[in-house]
């Protein structure tokens, strides 16, 4: 018994808190759903939330950890939705019928097809950077949309959309949450592993990462493919949750919505992505019922404002002091752990540029030039080399 308690204590529960939270939610809601206590609208909301979490977590691997902006995440989802939906329709007409096996097979097929697309999009990523890559991913999303829109009616339904087979609504969201757990298991473990550290090293400085012997090609492709596979899973689940898959759904704005979830949650934070995906999807579905017609756009207006204000607050160089002073994490520590105030603990080694070990260049070149911080080229002379 004592052995059990010691193993119980040695597990770092904080590491697994998101798995546990999602698992508990799944079990509780699953039990309620089997008892028939959940209305149709709640089931739909839960499916939507699970799909959003998968999308946000997988995009956060590319945007938050690999540091590449992808504007075509809905395109991968589109591939998964169409191919997975088609396969399940084909299988459903055979002896297997419309069961869990069909769902699993279509998930796998949708994931693999989206992953293959991720590989294709990842290839230009090796040669292109930042803004150029963003436009290529955007172009990919548009190409996928156009191709499915113009497909013949027999293959993928064309402009009308692809009719999808049904799966028991009471259980679909449980499958969706199991996929969420799988997503978390894969991506979170990847990030905490050696590979994950290589991926974040590429984000922080690609040339330096290459110089230390990290295989940039491999890790970039890896990031894109894994993100695409999970977007494909989300697409298959999406096709199951809707009556009809239409390519117009997967437009540029949908990709942006996923990006907003990642940014609001905090780039480089998986738990943040989960929370913001849940919140945004919940608000989206609830606001859809309240705001009708032209007023529906107020939702987008508010999101856009929140996005702008939040990004400026988090990134503006002028607000740096303010941010450090009124940081949520610092405040938390001040209230609950007054002895460990991280704001007061300063690692001097990390701020070598303010430690007066070398001759202060500003004093040597004592001219009256005042340089605004306009861009990365114009940093202080004393800081040059330190900020890149």
């Amino acid at each position: 018994m004592s052995k059990f308690t010691s193993t119980f204590k040695s597990i770092k529960w904080k590491k697994y808190i998101n798995y546990i939270a999602i698992a508990i939610v799944t079990i509780v809601l699953g039990a309620l759903s089997m008892g028939g206590a959940l209305p149709q609208s709640t089931l739909y909301l839960l499916e939507k939330i699970a799909i959003s979490i998968i999308l946000a977590v997988s995009l956060s691997l590319v945007v938050g950890f690999l540091g590449e902006l992808s504007l075509g995440h809905a395109g991968f989802m589109c591939v998964g939705a169409y191919l997975g939906g088609k396969i399940s329709a084909v299988i459903a007409s055979t002896a297997l019928g419309n069961g869990i096996v069909t769902l699993i097979i279509s998930l796998i097929v949708g994931g693999i097809c989206a992953g293959a697309c991720g590989f294709i999009v990842g290839l230009p990523a090796l040669r292109l950077k930042g803004d150029y890559l963003a436009i290529v991913t955007l172009a990919f999303g548009e190409i996928v949309k156009v191709i499915f829109q113009n497909s013949s009616e027999k293959s993928f339904g064309g402009p009308i959309g692809l009719p999808t087979p049904r799966f028991d609504k009471q259980y679909l969201f449980i499958v969706a949450f199991l996929v969420v757990l799988l997503t978390l298991a894969v991506i979170q473990n990847l990030i905490k592993s050696k590979h994950g550290r290589a991926i974040t090293a590429i984000r922080d400085n690609e040339i330096a990462a290459r110089a230390t012997g990290i295989n940039v090609t491999k890790y970039k492709l890896m990031g894109f493919i894994i993100a695409a596979v999970f977007a494909g899973f989300a697409g298959v689940l999406f096709s199951y949750s809707q009556n009809n898959v239409s390519s117009a759904t997967f437009d540029y704005n949908y990709s942006i919505e996923i990006l907003v979830m990642v940014v609001l949650g905090g780039m480089g934070s998986i738990n943040g992505s989960i929370i913001s995906a849940t919140l945004i999807t919940f608000l989206n579905v609830q606001l859809q019922n309240v705001l009708k017609g032209d007023l529906a756009v107020l939702k987008d207006l508010i999101y856009a404002l929140i996005l702008i204000v939040l990004v400026i607050y988090n990134n503006a160089p002028a607000l740096k002091g303010f941010r450090e002073k009124y940081n949520l994490r610092n405040l938390w520590h001040k209230i609950f752990k007054p002895k460990h105030d991280p704001a007061k603990v300063r690692d001097d080694a990390a701020r070598w540029d303010v430690v007066p070990t070398k001759i202060a260049m500003d004093e040597v070149l004592s001219t009256d030039i005042v340089i605004d911080n306009v861009g990365d080229n114009s940093a202080d002379i004393g800081e040059r080399g330190g900020n890149k």
């Binding site: 803004d131 150029y132 040339i207 756009v297 107020l298 990134n315 503006a316 002028a318 340089i371």
Partner: protein
Amino acid sequence: MDFLITLVNGLSLGGIYAMIALGYTMVYGIAKMLNFAHGDIIMVGGYTILLFLPINPVLAIVAAIVFCVIVGIVVEKCAYKPLRGSSPLAVLITAIGVSTLLQSLAQVLFGSAPKQQMVDLGALKIGELSIGYSTIITLVCSIAVMVALNLFVKYTKTGRAMVAVSEDKGAAQLMGINVNFIIMITFAIGSALAALAGLFYFLKIQTMTTTFGALPGIKAFTAAVIGGIGSIPGAMVGGLLLGVIECIAQSIPALSPYTDAIEFSILIIILLVKPTGLLGKKRREKV
């Protein structure tokens, strides 16, 4: 003969794309950011023209240019200036936010129903050929604007300051150039061009919606990247090329549904072969 008409139409559409692409490319060259909201400035221009058109066409054009310039400068001051010096990703995401903001504001103000306004300027007939006057005006005006812009950049003090800022911001500042002012001017010129492009695009499709600027915006962005973003001649070449490709693809029945896909595929192929675009300069990166 049909091909000639397709070519003229393509060049005219390309002129519109080139004008928008110039806005993208100048802002990229000087502020080192992708202004995703540029397409929506076109939409702002389009709605302004629609509002003032019943009063006086000339007034409508002037009002559109003035209003777009104001919106462009306000967006730059409020959304992009505080982020100068931070990561490019942050600026890009803010630009996306501004784009959504402008679109939803327009929808709140004007509703989502498309507004139509027929403007028929007649057509020029040479033998069997028939080309709309609006097409010709678009082509002539866009070429005039491009020539004027080139002269402005080459021979005026402000224009040369713009080139200097795009080459090395820090050095330009040390030489006494007011970088913030130059960036503001760049946004103003880009927005004025977007207003003109909005006018010509409106003459072409004659329907106003809140996503009016989205498609030409993305296409022009593609054009700017094809030509090499940051390069002014590149934006012109890329825009004209893309316009001609679009019109040729649309004139072939088998290809016409896939026009957008073809254009974006060409973009990807060009970037794979030449990652900085056709006329872009290669940048050395330091660690």
